[in-house]
């Protein structure tokens, strides 16, 4: 009982499906980024669930986390190399 709202996981999946559909309308050279976006949206949906009730919010959270990681990782590698 309870569970009157669709779960965050399902909601994120649904949002990701919309984004996948929209990606098909992208130019051929842009489509791989669309596919990547779909993957990133789902990547952290289970964690996003802890603080987000809105599936769109969770999908965006997930994508942003991965983007920040990507941005900072080159910095990290530089630091690791330093003595």
């Amino acid at each position: 009982m309870g569970r009157s709202f669709t779960s965050i996981r399902q909601g994120v999946k649904s949002t990701a499906d919309h984004w996948a559909r929209s990606s098909r309308a992208l130019k051929k050279e842009d489509q791989p980024y669309g596919e990547k976006l779909v993957k990133l949206a789902k990547k952290h949906s289970s964690e996003a669930f802890y603080g987000c009730d809105d599936p769109l919010e969770a999908a965006v959270f997930s994508v942003l986390i991965e983007m920040i990681k990507k941005q900072e990782q080159p910095e990290q590698e530089k630091n690791d190399v330093d003595p």
């Binding site: 009982m1 309870g2 569970r3 709202f5 789902k42 964690e47 802890y50 009730d53």
Partner: protein, 666 residues
């Protein structure tokens, strides 16, 4: 006095075993209770109740507190008439409590236990004469009773013309005078037995009074699935268990059935036929009556009004951490013992504590001894497997009490309690993850009440978690474990298999574990896992690849020559009509065509003769089968295992706190 059966037939009949079995009748005519928020408009009705049903003013206690109302000495139909007459303003209590259970609860007695025994003892002693009857034949099809195996002091086979077989069976039962009869598919056979007995002019001796109670067949929703219960003929004064259909017997054996009776206040004839959900609700009812608390008739108090954002935040399930699929070595699974019931007790969650958290809640008070008992049996079964059955029953009762709390028919449930439980469980799993990571562990996967971690020392982590959460946990060590992916490549939740440190294999969500997997395919996966289980490290698992692949090839080659029976798919159907054409729908139609009664919740077993034409045969008459269809199923099952050998997805080693890769952690 040791009560083995009870019934209400105008008075409360208790069947007591004390050397012999005797029936003791008690006169008992309990009232139900009525509360009217505004009695004035119903002045006349009250007058009628006073004159015809000895109604009188009184106060009574609900879990929320005292109410002033009336006691009415009448039954359910009068209660329903009061509802209608007051346009459902009337609140009624103790209308649908089983009368024999109520009698026992009010007098502090219970079935299947001596006076000095505690209901919450893990031990149950009983001295019951057993009799086993096994009727050869398929109970779904009409069969003649010409071949019956019987076990009492010795085994006998009754064989021959139906009249003689039945006469012999009945006289054996009469002579032996058993207290408990174990019979596979008893509930399906009994109505037929009765019919045939009458046809032959014989009298069935199963009931000690000659009379039987009827439990009607019905389908009902339970835990998101449709369940089906057969119509049953229940004898008086004797325990008759349908060993095939009884969930409680299958899990807990006779001891489990008796233990369930002791806890719920229901006789074993009923506990063997009820689901864990009904058992826990009956237990709650018994406890309420025992404490002088009245049981509401209808569930009319609704949740509070909430704003959209508030409800969306509350209406959520347990916390989960998605795994990265792959194979991992040296992983520990940390499980919280009976998490949800433990939260109810620890956080004092109950309908009346939502508004008044300072009160001692009814639900926590009632679940606490049950929880304590389960923790004891869980410990005991490690050294004495005899406690495993009882532990299982308790586990199921406790598991269903959570769902039951939110369940629409739960007498003492409120959705806010349900939400309070899941909310706290999310926090607990989160806190556990924090503790694990702070101690240098890697969290691989988590589902609601368990976590899979990599790292050491695990005992220290367990101790720290238990200290911080004040909840009990159990650890299982995996030498290696495979987390499977979903179709989109991301990690699947609760789909894994691995080798435990004792060499056994634990699986979840794969073909070998699913109920509907055909035996042929299940056997293939089983054999594969047996080979893999002989390897204790990830490297060795990789070496087993050729051997395991050979099993797959062998299974593929032999598939066309397999026995159709081994390809039977067993499913519990949830409906009789389907919106679009499908295999399961065709199977249901086939059953119906052959005159076998099916209802939602019933189990069917079928073989696919031709998938494209939706041609299905029930398992008992299956001959040929669609090799291509089953080859697909076989390949899917193989895919679950071969994933472990895929080198393209390297297993990730635990990345420690400082983001460096750690291969071994000490």
């Amino acid at each position: 006095m040791w009560i083995l059966d009870s019934a209400y037939r105008g008075g409360v009949d208790l069947w007591v075993r004390d050397g012999a079995v005797t029936k003791i009748r008690h006169d008992y005519d309990p009232p139900f209770y009525l509360y009217l928020p505004d009695p004035h408009p119903h002045h006349d009705m009250i007058g009628t109740l006073e004159s015809e049903y000895h109604a009188g003013e009184c106060t009574f206690t609900t879990i929320f507190g005292e109410l002033s109302g009336y006691r009415v000495f009448a039954g359910r139909s009068v209660a329903e008439a009061i509802e209608q007459q007051t346009n459902y303003e009337a609140q009624l209590f103790n209308v649908d409590v089983r009368i024999d259970q109520r009698f026992m609860a009010e007098h502090g007695i219970f079935p299947c236990g001596a006076e000095h025994e505690s209901r919450f003892s893990p031990d149950i002693s009983y001295n019951l004469r057993r009799f086993e009857i096994s009727i050869r034949g398929n109970p779904s099809l009409s069969a003649a009773f010409t071949d019956i195996d019987v076990t009492h002091e010795r085994c006998e086979r009754l064989h021959g013309r139906e009249r003689n077989v039945l006469a012999d069976l009945f006289s054996l039962v009469t002579a032996c005078d058993p207290d408990v009869i174990l019979m596979p598919d008893a509930d399906t056979w009994m109505p037929k037995l009765q019919k045939q007995a009458r046809a032959h002019g014989l009298e069935m001796p199963f009931s000690r009074t000659g009379k039987y109670r009827r439990m009607d067949a019905r389908s009902y929703w339970s835990y998101g699935r449709v369940e089906h219960k057969e119509s049953a003929l229940i004898p008086d004064g004797r325990i008759l268990i349908d060993t095939e259909k009884s969930f409680v017997y299958r899990e807990g054996g006779l001891a489990g059935v008796l233990m369930a009776a002791r806890l719920s206040g229901l006789p074993p004839n009923l506990t063997s036929r009820f689901t864990p959900g009904t058992l826990i609700s009956s237990y709650e009812v018994y406890e309420a009556v025992r404490r002088g608390i009245v049981v509401p008739f209808r569930k009319s108090d609704a949740e509070k009004v909430r704003r959209f954002a508030e409800l969306r935040a509350a209406d959520r399930g347990g916390m989960m951490f998605q795994p990265a699929p792959g194979i991992y070595g040296d992983v520990d699974e940390i499980d919280f013992t009976s998490l949800y019931p433990s939260i109810i007790v620890q956080a004092n969650l109950s309908p009346e504590t939502i508004e008044h958290p300072e009160r001692q809640g009814f639900l926590p008070a009632v679940l606490d001894p049950l929880l304590g008992l389960r923790i004891r049996t869980k410990q005991l079964k490690k050294s004495d497997p005899r406690y495993a059955g009882i532990d299982s029953i308790l586990k199921w009762m406790l598991v269903t009490c959570f769902g039951y709390t939110g369940y629409k028919n739960a007498k003492f449930g409120r959705i806010e309690v349900h939400e309070g439980i899941t909310g706290r469980s999310r926090d607990i799993l989160m806190r556990t993850k924090d503790i694990a990571e702070a101690m240098g562990f890697c969290v691989l996967h988590g589902i609601v009440d368990c976590l899979w971690v990599q790292g050491s020392p695990i005992e220290a982590l367990k101790a720290h978690i238990e200290q911080t959460t004040r909840l009990l946990t159990e650890i299982e060590h995996f030498d290696w474990i495979v987390f499977l992916p979903q179709n989109d490549g991301s990690g699947a939740y609760n789909r894994y298999y691995g080798r435990l440190s004792d060499g056994s294999v634990k699986v979840r969500g794969i073909a070998a574990r699913r109920h509907d997997t055909p035996e042929y395919i299940r056997a293939m996966q089983r054999d594969m896992l047996t080979v893999m289980a002989s390897t204790a490290t990830i490297a060795d698992v990789g070496k087993a690849k050729d051997l395991v692949k050979a099993i797959y090839r062998h299974a593929v080659q032999n598939l066309p020559y397999a026995h159709a029976q081994d390809l039977a798919i067993n499913r519990r159907i949830s409906r009789l009509t389907y919106t679009h054409r499908c295999i399961e729908g065709a199977a249901v139609k086939e059953y119906q065509k052959r005159g076998v009664a099916v209802a939602p919740g019933a189990k069917i077993s079928y073989v696919v003769r031709d998938a494209r034409k939706y041609a299905i045969d029930p398992a008992w008459s299956a001959g040929s089968f669609d090799v291509r269809y089953y080859r697909e199923l076989l390949d899917k099952a193989w895919g679950e295992i071969s994933y472990a050998f895929m080198s393209e997805k390297p297993s990730l080693n635990c990345v420690g706190r400082d983001n460096r890769s750690i291969n071994t952690i000490h």
